[in-house]
């Protein structure tokens, strides 16, 4: 006997992602899901971003790593609350893990949550966490040919950050070709070029992000 099922295998994750969304909406908290391959500069980028929005927003960071707490210690050093999730070998964060981490935060007092996903350009793109923005980083050292190799990540992200732009003069990295390819795959993508090392481009990104976070707060007050 054949039984019709028609159920998506990621549906369970989608349901919890929606619960996270509702939780964040109630407190007017904005959440960023930050994804990249290992070593693209996620933690440095978060530190620069926290510095850039300091004074206006109260922030928290959820750190997803396979093991260890090196990243959350770096965040805690600057006085920002950081919650570590160890995925125990799993290559991506799922909505339920973020749900547990959100439960440990006093969301009423938090304007911006940045989730640092596990370093991986493949799997995190499949799992919605309930975020407002999916932000991905591609660093110059990885090469401009990555979008067609990892299409889901590049087409799902709302924002692409090109990091380590200070390295461009030393490489064959073709920034214009990268942008052209990604805009075809993802016409509404916002692209920011930054160097966490020199600080170049960070203020443009932070300015844009602040506008988005302010928008969320204004909606909750109304």
């Amino acid at each position: 006997m054949e039984i019709e099922v028609l159920e998506g295998i990621f549906d369970a994750n989608e349901i919890i992602a929606k619960e996270n969304r509702a939780l964040l909406d109630r407190s007017g908290t904005f959440m960023v899901n930050l994804m990249s391959s290992p070593g693209a500069g996620k933690t440095s980028f978060i530190l620069k971003t926290l510095e850039g929005v300091e004074g206006e927003f109260s922030c928290a960071v959820i750190e997803g790593d396979i093991a260890g707490k090196v990243d959350s210690e770096r965040i805690a050093e600057i006085g920002v609350q950081a919650i570590q999730i160890n995925t125990g070998g799993s290559c991506h964060l799922e909505a339920r893990q973020v749900n547990t981490a959100l439960g440990r935060l006093d969301l009423g007092g938090v304007d911006l949550v940045v989730v640092e996903n596990v370093g991986n350009l493949v799997c995190p793109a499949e799992f919605r966490l309930g975020e407002d923005l999916k932000v991905m980083i591609l660093s110059v050292a990885e090469g401009h040919d990555k979008p067609l190799k990892y299409p889901l990540m590049f087409s799902e992200s709302h924002v692409m950050i090109v990091n380590k732009t200070d390295l461009i003069p030393h490489t064959d990295f073709d920034l214009e070709l990268l942008k052209e390819t990604v805009r075809k795959m993802n016409p509404s993508v916002e692209i920011f070029e930054v160097s966490c090392r020199t600080g170049e481009g960070i203020s443009a990104w932070c300015g844009w992000l602040k506008d988005r976070v302010r928008g969320t707060r204004a909606e909750t007050k109304n």
Binding site: E2, V5, C91, C123, S188
Partner: protein, 113 residues
């Protein structure tokens, strides 16, 4: 490679529907896998053998129906098969596009007795 957790989620869906229909055995699982999904057939089959062990789905055959990446232009309504992940509408040049198929990973049906 997240196929282990994906297969666990898949098994939860399969067993829920099997139990609901009082199945004694699941013989076949018919899956739909989109061209753009990051999930791969071979690791799914590999982990399925582990995860289904000692369940009524042990030994079930896995069948994959692949769907092509199809987009629809929200401006002119044109639907087309996307090549090289270029989501620009080939008819009107519009960029306001929706994915119609090719993203899914779904249990379409199960065959039980």
């Amino acid at each position: 490679m997240h196929e282990l957790s994906v297969v666990e989620s898949m098994m939860a869906v399969v067993l829920k529907h099997a139990e609901r229909n009082r199945a004694r055995k699941v013989n076949r699982i018919n899956l739909v896998l989109g061209e753009m999904s990051t999930v791969m057939e071979d690791p799914v089959k590999f982990y399925f053998d582990f995860v289904s062990r000692d369940t009524i789905a042990a030994g079930a055959e896995l069948s994959f129906r692949r769907t092509e990446l199809i987009a629809r232009c929200e401006d002119c309504g044109h639907e087309w098969k996307v090549q090289e992940y270029d989501f620009t509408c080939p008819e009107c040049g519009g960029t306001n596009t929706e994915i119609v198929s090719g993203r899914e990973f779904q249990v379409e049906s199960i065959e039980i007795n």
